[in-house]
Amino acid sequence: MWWLLAALAAVPGDDVDLIPRAVTAAQATAPQAEKGASFRARWFVENALSASTEPRDVPVPYPPSLASRWQNRASLDASLSWRPANPLVLTLSGRLNLFAQDGVSFVSPDTIRANLREAYATWQPISGFSVEAGRINVREGVALGFNPTDFFKTRTLVDQSSLDPSIVRQNRLGTVMVRAQAIGAGVSVSAAVAPKLASPPPLTESNPIGIDPHLGAMNGAWRAEAVLGFEVADLSPQLLGYLEEGRSKIGLDVSRPIGGAVVAYAEWAGGPEKSLAARAADSGKNTGTLPQNAPIVPPDSGATSFRNDVAAGFSWAIAATLTLNAEYHFHQGGFARADWSYGFSHPADARQLWYVRGYANDQQEPMSRHQLFARVAWPRFLSRDFEVDGFAFVGLIDGSVLSQLSFSDYLSKDWTLAAFISGNFGAPRSERGSFPQAATLTLQITRYF
């Protein structure tokens, strides 16, 4: 009978025995003390060293600046937010860079570059309504690789280590504007006006002392945007309207979960504008980079017509930590097969062709009309502190590929070590294969404070 009593007295404790004594005995970790709400700062220092392969033979001559073998960038990055009085918040964000590069004197206008990303004031007099004024980074869109509805993205990219679209926008410059936003139950409306403050500069400009607000790049023309966001059928749509001389557009972006692991999304923007090549030619002439009599390359009537841009895709949480994004990009004003064929058949027009490529990159537009984008994010890859990410742009016209693999090791809560390996693959007479450098390796270390 004693064995029955013993069995009845025994209380199941197997589960709780799984908890190490060290866990329950440890002092409760007090969450980070709530900082005073009036001032917040986030900053880090970073060094990135890049090395590229020897330039390869390509059919179209390229600018010497593309054949740089190595570059080192040291940066101090800071984001500050200060609430001096309750309805008012001041925001300041920027990065200071120190460069050393193959073929460039260490002491040069390009040695020091200061990027003022944002400097603006927010006034929220009543709940749900705010007005902002200053240099503001307004970002729209739901896709990763290309955002047709992100109208303020043009000419904003500066100094990056990674080509990953998810990362490259982390050092994006804002636009000087006044913006108002009202958010209600399930609906939001915003309107922004950005004045012209300076004439647009050339694609590559450097200030004698390296501190340049780039006003002409982001505020080289009067621009305005209105956005209406609302909820319907779980799509979270946004309707956008954009005004700029020669580039006015309307846009729509939507997203929706499908099941528990997939989110589908799409962006569309359309409006009357010239082709990419024609706009690049106009830009080159207006900034003095190209002669006034420079033809459009590839040949184009230069006519304005209604053109569409689309980015559509999905994200898929495949396993416990793995996420895949896949997108299709359509850029109606971009190069068709015939355009690329012309470019590779006319090396005499190489300078202008490369200018168009630089212009497209500056505008954050695809060069070609059709491309695919895929990205994989795999945190906790083999180890809890190790992450692997990769992406690829695949040209559907010529099959050429721009891809990058990145490895991040979170050494501690303060230190991150990362490596980026990027490559341009394809036939010599293809979009990516015609780049002089096949591959680049970047090693980056970051200390957060």
Binding site: D15, I19, T24, T29, E34, V138, S166, V262, A317, Y410
Partner: protein
């Protein structure tokens, strides 16, 4: 004999009338865990490998009950480590958005992405289990809590009843006298045990005695243990516009 049977019948009827239903038990347990007003709470999530502290994440969760759905809307703001500070995750039924202040990008995420990590966002959110799950009372058990103290509990099985439920199925052990959650087991869609969780460190917080620690043991690799600590429960004017993606770039603590 007939008198005995009558007495027994009366006792059984009385017990039946007084016994709580599974739904009432879960609802009462929800009230133990969740304040009945909009609030904020700071969280510390520490991962242990083989008993050694490894990673730590800090966040602040802002929660507000949606009177229409009776489920909580949550806005999670990361405070640590420094590389993640300022990131936001918005949870409002099927509308889940991740916001990165560095790129100012808002990315819509799936329900599955809630479960990334040992202590997923789904574990630390304020949720009403009574809303998302259909409970069934399995019986009464005496178990040990995380401090090896004996607790008389109801053992319940909860099956997901809405698409918003974080887990397909879970088991819960709720203390009979206090309705305090003691232990829980969480299962995958395939029925595999994912993790075990133990509630402890009950303290007076914002109008009730609430658990301030959650110990999560990985069922696949039991060397992986996560300790979640809640502190600083505070009533807050949580505004409805906080739960819209357009507001995320302007949100600040």
């Amino acid at each position: 004999m007939s008198r005995f049977l009558v007495t027994l019948a009366v006792l059984l009827w009385t017990r039946s009338a007084l016994a709580e239903s599974a739904a009432e038990i879960v609802a009462a347990s929800d009230q133990v865990r969740n304040p009945d007003q909009p609030f904020r709470v700071a969280l510390s999530i520490v991962e242990y490998l083989g008993g050694q502290a490894h990673d730590a994440v800090g966040m602040i969760v802002h929660s507000k009950l949606d009177p229409g759905t009776r489920q909580y809307r949550n806005l999670v703001a990361y405070t640590a480590p420094p590389r993640d500070a300022g990131k936001l995750v918005l949870f409002d039924a099927s509308k889940m958005w991740f916001y990165d202040p560095a790129s100012k990008a808002s990315i819509r995420i799936s329900a599955q992405q809630r479960l990334i990590g040992q202590a997923s966002n789904g574990d630390v959110l304020t949720v009403n289990l009574a809303h998302d799950y259909a409970p069934k009372l399995l019986g009464e058990e005496t178990i040990q809590d995380a401090d090896h103290q004996q607790r008389n509990t109801w053992h319940l099985d909860l099956a997901a009843a809405t698409s918003d439920a974080v887990y397909t199925r879970l088991e819960a052990w709720i203390e009979m006298r206090t309705h305090r959650p003691v232990k829980a087991k969480f299962y995958s869609d395939s029925g595999r045990l994912l993790k075990l969780a133990f509630y402890r460190a009950y303290q007076e917080q914002l109008g009730g005695v609430r658990p301030t620690e959650l110990i999560i043991v990985d069922a696949v690799d039991t060397h992986l243990v996560t300790r979640v600590t809640w502190s600083g429960f505070r009533a807050e004017d949580v505004r409805d516009e906080w739960f819209q993606r357009e507001y995320l770039p302007r949100f600040s603590e």
